[in-house]
Symmetry: C2
Subunit: 146 residues, 2 copies
């Protein structure tokens, strides 16, 4: 038995199909909360109970630091997060979710973590096989970094 085509290429192509569905879902979810997709992503990037400098959020969001000012302004006006002073460096502002922010984040994160029908409908054995190969894939990345 042989492959008519590169299996890695086909696998990547198929994953892209699933990715498109996720994009739509994220847009719908953001709209439900009255947030833009980027605002929802920002909320999701903050860990409840932890503080993150604005510069770190800019890296996570893959955008310039100047954009974060506006994004954070709007989320702060909505009462979902707050700016706090950093103890050791008065230039730095630390971001932290408010109680309302934590609630929204937990709910949204939970809903986005639910696998789509394409994955949920697989047999348990196929789900485990998929998980195992993906663990391998991500492990490759960590090996390379070291």
């Amino acid at each position: 038995m042989y492959d008519s085509k590169d299996p890695a290429g086909e696998a990547w192509e198929l994953m892209f199909e699933l990715f498109k569905g996720m994009k739509r879902e994220r847009m719908n979810l953001a709209q439900e909360y009255g947030l833009s997709p980027m605002q929802l992503f920002a909320i999701g990037s903050l860990e409840p109970g932890e503080e993150m400098p604005m510069s770190s959020l800019a890296e996570t969001l893959l955008c310039d630091a100047s954009n974060v000012t506006g994004i954070v302004d709007r989320l702060e006006a909505r009462g979902l997060l707050e700016r706090r002073a950093a103890a050791h460096d008065r230039r730095v502002k630390l971001l932290a979710l408010t109680e309302a922010g934590v609630r929204l984040r937990d709910e949204a994160t939970h809903r986005l973590a639910i696998p789509p029908p394409e994955i949920a409908g697989l047999s348990r054995a196929d789900q485990r096989a998929l998980r195992d190969v993906l663990r391998q894939a991500i492990a490759q990345r960590e090996m390379k970094a070291a």
Copy 2:
């Protein structure tokens, strides 16, 4: 042997890790061509040699039809596509890639189709296993649609 956690949920979480890397790659590629991510996505959505109504592109892009006017304006000004009259319905405008558009699209599509190191670094057996499970997953979708 048992699972400490839902395998579908963990698989979905791991796929999300790979998606994040793809987002960065798409942004970098668009910037190389001097296009916005959305403009590159629009170019990639048009099949060389085929025509697509603007309304269809709006559906593919997951945005309102009014946005497509501006996106297409900018791509047309760059000489990457053109508007054509539809024979049967004079309200409709058909979009078609120019020669330059086809060249750019083919090159960008080819580069985006290259699997990331996480997938390329898997053993051939793992790549096939991943492909087979993803074929199953997408087949689920088609079964449901019928």
